[in-house]
Symmetry: C2
Subunit: 159 residues, 2 copies
């Protein structure tokens, strides 16, 4: 199973190394990770997508919650959340396929952010399924390069 | 200085721990990190924003380039690149401020992705300055929660 965990952490050197070390002990793969600043520069928010058994992920969550550098953790299994991922895709473009490719961009509301002589680069944000969908549609034309941000998430509701 | 490095890595357990360990030895802070799959599920792309001296960052780059798990590295200092970051912001909303807040969303082309009784959640993607700008404009209304993906980047041009 894939599960997403989200934590507020102190923004100090070594936090990521400690975290990665804690996860490494278990038979769990980090599918995606996103860490960025929050409105408070001393605090970062970390979102991690993990592939592994429910038990292993539960143990990782408990271990992380006990760490000094962790300020708070959100259990995204039990709560409703908004999740989004950003993707940049550079796709090969030959003049014969231009219309078709531009139509895909329109359907997925992907924005063109760069153009080369034989390629075009777009950005799109959406949930995992939407990002997977865009990539699947563009793959036959030849994806030259691709970068996903990993999922980020916020709880729904007012808190 | 802040610098961004980008690497293609093998998608296997422990890669992140190794990488974080390599960075930890230097007096450098990880400002942001993003890792996600590429079109090839065995390969991940990692984008790291580092704060530190040019020399330290240079040494980290060299050390990472030598690691087995690293397939290739892009030096984003010397090459032109497209960089984007995704942010989710939940901002407090009282009826007296609704118009003002909605205008900010319009200016920044931020999309509403969730609403509570006393808050509204938007997503926006853009370069670092744009994301910082949105956060600065919304701060006076009260930011309840915020999540940044960390920067992702692709080289400009056809390669």
């Amino acid at each position: 199973m894939t599960q997403t965990i989200s934590a507020l952490t102190k923004n100090s050197p070594g936090v990521l190394a400690d975290m990665a070390q804690a996860i490494r002990k278990y038979n769990v793969n980090i599918r995606s990770i996103s860490a960025g600043e929050t409105e408070d520069p001393t605090i970062s928010r970390l979102t991690i997508g993990l592939d592994g058994s429910e038990d292993d992920i539960q143990r990782i969550t408990e271990e992380m919650a006990d760490m000094d550098v962790i300020i708070s953790m959100d259990d995204l299994r039990r709560k409703e959340f908004v999740d989004r991922e950003l993707v940049l895709v550079k796709v090969a473009m030959e003049s014969a396929c231009t219309t078709q490719i531009m139509q895909i961009f329109e359907v997925f509301r992907a924005n063109v952010v760069g153009m080369g002589q034989r390629s075009i680069t777009v950005e799109m944000s959406g949930d995992r399924e939407r990002v997977d969908g865009l990539i699947k549609m563009l793959a036959p034309f030849g994806i030259k390069s691709l970068c996903r941000s990993g999922m980020i998430a916020l709880k729904r509701g007012d808190d």
